[in-house]
Assembly symmetry: C2
Homo-oligomer: 326 residues x 2
């Protein structure tokens, strides 16, 4: 079984890299930009390059599906870069190809707010994909960077699914019918996404879970079983949104960037401003086996469990990261 977690943003350290290996995680899509502009994103890539140089026995940079298989074979973890905001491309469409060359594989068209490309999930109104956004989707399609609509609003998401000539993803979110967080996705969106071959990664961020940190493994897996019936098991995987070892200042940065002088709490609130506790059955990268067991317990067969744990993402990687065939 190949394990892929299609979203994490931990406070990276050797300890965490060792946990990835211990947990048998073959690949992780890591966020390297929330609000960073191009040069700042490159500085984050430089920091990753340093980790790759320092810990070659544990991690290496992933560029395609073959790197995931290599990581599995060698007991290491392949790290794939992604951006939760289009800020790294600034207003410059040429930066998409440059960032793809540097290993950028996923980019959200918006993060909570309106961007130059699309509307975020916390805006009041959603006018859909912008003129620049349409150009960017075509260019991302051309070079092989995946459109990610995890933090985008409904209309923009539906339009992105329609406009993209290649399959898109919602890398980390859950169905709104299971837990009505603003960040979770409507049945309409999830049907359109998966009907077009797109992938949904289930989030383990407590604000996205029914009962938050107290959500049970059983309940989480029953939700996946219901989603598999509605959307097809082959379009589903994990995108845990794990933010291990992060100080609360980081969630403040995620939510407020440089855009607000007032405090924005995202899925949190004044009372719950920081990072909530992870559920006891998914504390870090060593706990993926719990989820695999939980999926088997709610009736998924071995092959379905393997697909949900990483096989489906691997197939998606294989078809998504190369240049568009003309």
């Amino acid at each position: 079984m190949i394990i892929i977690d299609n979203l994490q943003y931990a406070n990276w350290s050797e300890r965490i890299f060792r946990q990835m290996n211990e947990g048998g995680v073959a690949a992780i899509h890591v966020t390297i930009a929330y609000h960073e502009q191009f040069r700042e994103t490159v500085a984050n890539i430089e920091a990753w390059n340093r980790w790759f140089e320092l810990f070659p026995d544990l991690i290496f940079q992933g560029f395609d599906g073959a790197d995931v298989r290599k990581a599995k074979e060698e007991g290491r973890t392949a790290i794939f870069f992604g951006f939760q905001n289009p800020s790294p491309i600034e207003d410059d469409i040429g930066l998409i190809e440059v960032l793809h060359r540097l290993g950028g594989r996923f980019m959200q068209l918006s993060y909570n707010n309106q961007s130059l490309l699309a509307t975020g999930c916390y805006e009041d109104d959603d006018p859909g994909i912008t003129r620049f956004g349409k150009q960017v989707i075509a260019e991302m399609n051309r070079v092989g960077m995946v459109v990610d609509m995890s933090h985008s609003a409904e209309r923009s998401t539906l339009e992105a699914i329609e406009l993209s000539q290649r399959r898109i993803a919602i890398t980390h979110a859950n169905p709104h019918w299971w837990h009505p967080a603003l960040r979770n996705k409507s049945d309409v969106v999830l049907r359109a996404l998966t009907l077009a071959g797109g992938m949904l990664g289930f989030s383990l961020y407590p604000h996205h879970l029914r009962d938050g940190s107290d959500c049970t493994l059983r309940n989480f897996c029953e939700m996946i079983a219901e989603a598999a019936e509605r959307y097809g098991v082959e379009n589903l995987g994990l995108g845990s949104d794990l933010c291990q070892d992060q100080p609360d200042s980081v969630v403040t940065w995620m939510r407020n960037g440089r855009w607000s002088k007032d405090m924005d709490y995202g899925e949190g609130s004044v009372e719950q401003a920081g990072f909530p506790d992870q559920p006891a059955w998914f504390r870090d990268n060593r706990d993926f086996s719990n989820i695999a067991s939980g999926l088997a317990d709610v009736g998924f067969n071995t092959s379905e469990v393997a697909g949900l744990m990483g096989g489906n993402w691997l197939a998606f990687y294989d078809s998504s990261f190369g240049a568009q065939s003309s």
Copy 2:
């Protein structure tokens, strides 16, 4: 015979790309930065990406020796990126690996002036490789970016040859004993360079030629024959420094960048401020066959001619562009 020109900085156009193909040029090392900082260099890469997208039948980006062979086989030209100044890495050693990933394969440690790394050939005094310079050479060695000392001063060049654990290059210059231009290299430097396995690319820039634009093909090839006796034919190739179709404003940019309010004329002078005319036997990329004939005429055998025209650079590419083996 594989033809490689290891330095050009033309005013790129479809017409020039077609001439590369017509001339059977398999690979060209093109300058993409004279004084540009990182973000400006990336903008130049974006411009090249656009040309690669628009003219895929003529050119593509080269990353290693295999791409040169592919270009030869397909009748196209592989374009390799290089920098004539370390300005693209600014003061940030992490940018070396980033730029290598983007295809940067050669970087001069200085361009005429003192840089953060080394001294340029027009400075009065040369204190040698700086503290930062030593770190940069080690990092270039590690990732596979070639140290180029074409515009550097004597002591810095000798120290770079000594410090570098991998072979370095002088991509575009001629021997000072043949034509005593400041930019041409002393016998001491050329012996040290080639003794360490380094490569010299002969320049066809008229200011580097005996008799300038009137230099004869015979004279140029006799100089190469003498150099082959002194330094070994296997360490020699071409680096024409062709600046085709460039307006004079570009040579002003090369020489003055943003560093001088007074006019600097480089190898030129007030009377000869702009680009001099190319010799009649080497006007553009269609004329490499003239040089191959000229080399045969002065006594090189077929295999030596093939080496000088590109085979030697190809062997150097094969051993230089990958990560350092530990």
